[in-house]
C-alpha cells in the first residue's frame, strides 16, 4: 500500500493549531490534549473521520515538549503513522519516538528560546527603549518572533518531508551551541546596559564617571545573590527600601 501524504491545507491547519498547543496545559499530563489537537487534522487525513480507538489512546496520553519544536514532532509522528498504515515495518514505533524526542527537544527549546533568544531580544529592545523610542516593543517582537515562527513552520515541513531523518538535520544545526553563543551575547549586553545606566547616573548627579565603576561590584554581588536563590522581589524590596530610607534621612 502506498504511504499517504498530507495536503498543504492540512499542514497549514496544523501550523495554526500549534499556537494553541498549551491552551489546556495541566499538571497531570501537561500538553496531552494540545498535542492531540495539533495532529488531529493529520489523523483525519490518514484515518478518515472516525479515528480508531487505538490511535486515540496512543496520542491522548502525557506529552510535553517545547512549543516551537512541537510541530516538528507532530509532523514526524504523522509520517510514522502514515508509514505504519501503509504496512511498512518501522525501525522505531510512534510511541517510542514520541517518548524518545520530547524531553531532548524540550531542553533544546528552553535553552534556545527562553535562555537565549528571549533575553537577547529583550536587552536589545531595552537599549532602544532607553533612548525613549516607542519602537522598542516592535524591535523586541520582531527579533523574537522571526526565529520563533520560522522554526515552527520549518520544523513542520522538515518532519513532514524527512520523517525520522529530521532528527539528524536538527542535530546538524547545533542549536545547543547557538544557545550558548546567544547567552554569551546577552551577558555582554547586560554589561553594556549597566555601564550606560551607570554613566547616565553619574552625569545626572554631576559626578566623575570614575564613580560609575562602583556599580560593578554591586551588580556582581546582586547577581551572586540571585544565583544563590535570593528572589528578585527581595532584591527590589532591599534596594528600594534602602534608597527611600536614605532619601528620608538625608
Amino acid at each position: 500500500m502506498k504511504e499517504r501524504g498530507l495536503s498543504w491545507l492540512t499542514l497549514t491547519r496544523m501550523y495554526l493549531r500549534s499556537f494553541l498547543l498549551q491552551a489546556s496545559w495541566n499538571f497531570e499530563k501537561l500538553q496531552n490534549l494540545g498535542f492531540f489537537y495539533l495532529i488531529l487534522p493529520g489523523l483525519h487525513s490518514l484515518y478518515g473521520d472516525e479515528l480508531p480507538e487505538e490511535v486515540c489512546r496512543r496520542h491522548g496520553g502525557y506529552f510535553n515538549t517545547h512549543p516551537c519544536f512541537a510541530p516538528l514532532v507532530a509532523a514526524t509522528v504523522l509520517r510514522l503513522e502514515a508509514r505504519s498504515l501503509a504496512g511498512e515495518d518501522l525501525a522505531v514505533d510512534v510511541e517510542t519516538y514520541k517518548s524518545m524526542v520530547m524531553a531532548p527537544f524540550a531542553a533544546m527549546g528552553d535553552a534556545l528560546f527562553w535562555g537565549g533568544i528571549r533575553p537577547l531580544a529583550a536587552l536589545i529592545g531595552l537599549l532602544v527603549a532607553s533612548q525613549g523610542s516607542l519602537w522598542a516593543p516592535v524591535v523586541f517582537l520582531v527579533l523574537f518572533n522571526l526565529p520563533h515562527l520560522v522554526l515552527r513552520g520549518g520544523g513542520l515541513l522538515l518532519g513532514h518531508m524527512q520523517g525520522l531523518n529530521a532528527i539528524e538535520t536538527v542535530q546538524k544545526c547545533r542549536l545547543p551551541d547557538l544557545a550558548i553563543r546567544l547567552k554569551e551575547s546577552t551577558t555582554i549586553l547586560i554589561g553594556i546596559l549597566c555601564a550606560y545606566l551607570s554613566y547616565k547616573g553619574c552625569e545626572h548627579q554631576s559626578l566623575s564617571v570614575v564613580w560609575g565603576f562602583v556599580l560593578l561590584p554591586v551588580v556582581l554581588l546582586f547577581a551572586w545573590m540571585a544565583h544563590k536563590g535570593v528572589t528578585s522581589l527581595f532584591l527590589v524590596l532591599l534596594t528600594t527600601s534602602s534608597l527611600l530610607l536614605l532619601a528620608l534621612l538625608f
Binding site: G115, H148, T186, I188, I190, F222
Partner: protein
Amino acid sequence: MVAGDYLLAGLVAMLTGLDRVALVQAMISRPLVAAPLTGWLLGNPMIGLEIGMLLELLWLGRLPVGAAIPPDDTQVAVGATVLALSVGPLLGLHGMPMVILAVLVAIPLGKFGQVFDRLARHVNDRLAVSGENALLAGSTRGMERNHLFGLASFALASLATALVIVLVGSFILYEAAPFLIGAVREAGLSLQYSLVLVGAASLLGTINVNRSISLFCAAFTGTLLVLWLG
C-alpha cells in the same frame, strides 16, 4: 479614566495573559510590550514604556518551563500602567515618581498571579481528564471543546490577577502615596536605575553560561571607558 478604559485594560490583561502560556507565546506578554500597549490604549504609551523598562528584566531569567510558574510580570506591567494612569491624576501626581510608586506597589502583588495561575492549571487537570474521556468515547469534537475551554481558565486567572493589582494597588497608593512621594522624588533617578540594575543582576545570576562574569566585567568596563573618554 472612564469605565470603558477599565474594560479595555481588562481585555488587554486577558489577551496578554493568554500569551504567557496558552496562546501563541509571541511575547506580547513581556512587560516591554504589554505595558506600552496598555498605555497606548489608555492614551499614554510613554508611561507604559517607562514601566515596561523598569520591569522587563526582573523575572526574565525565570523560565516558564514544565510546572514552574514565575511571578506574573505581565499583569504587574498592565496593572502598574493602569495604576499610574488612574490613581496618579486623582492624587495630582504625574511623571516618573508616580510611575515608580505604581511599579513598587504592583511588584509584590504579582505573587497573586502565581496563585491564580496554579488554580487555572488545576481546573485544566479536570478538562484534560474530561477531554481524554471524550476522545476514548470517539468524540474528537468533545476533546477539542475541552482543550479550548482551557483558554478561559487562563484568561480568567490573568483578569483576576490584574483586578487584584489594580484594586489593592489603588487602596495602597491612596494611603501611602502622600507619605512616600517626597522620598520617591528625592531618590528619583536612583530608584529608577536600581530597578533596572536589580533586573540585570538577577538575569546575570541566572544565566547559565561559563565565563559570564568575565564577559560582563569586560563589557561593563569597556563601555564605561568608551563613554568616559569618548
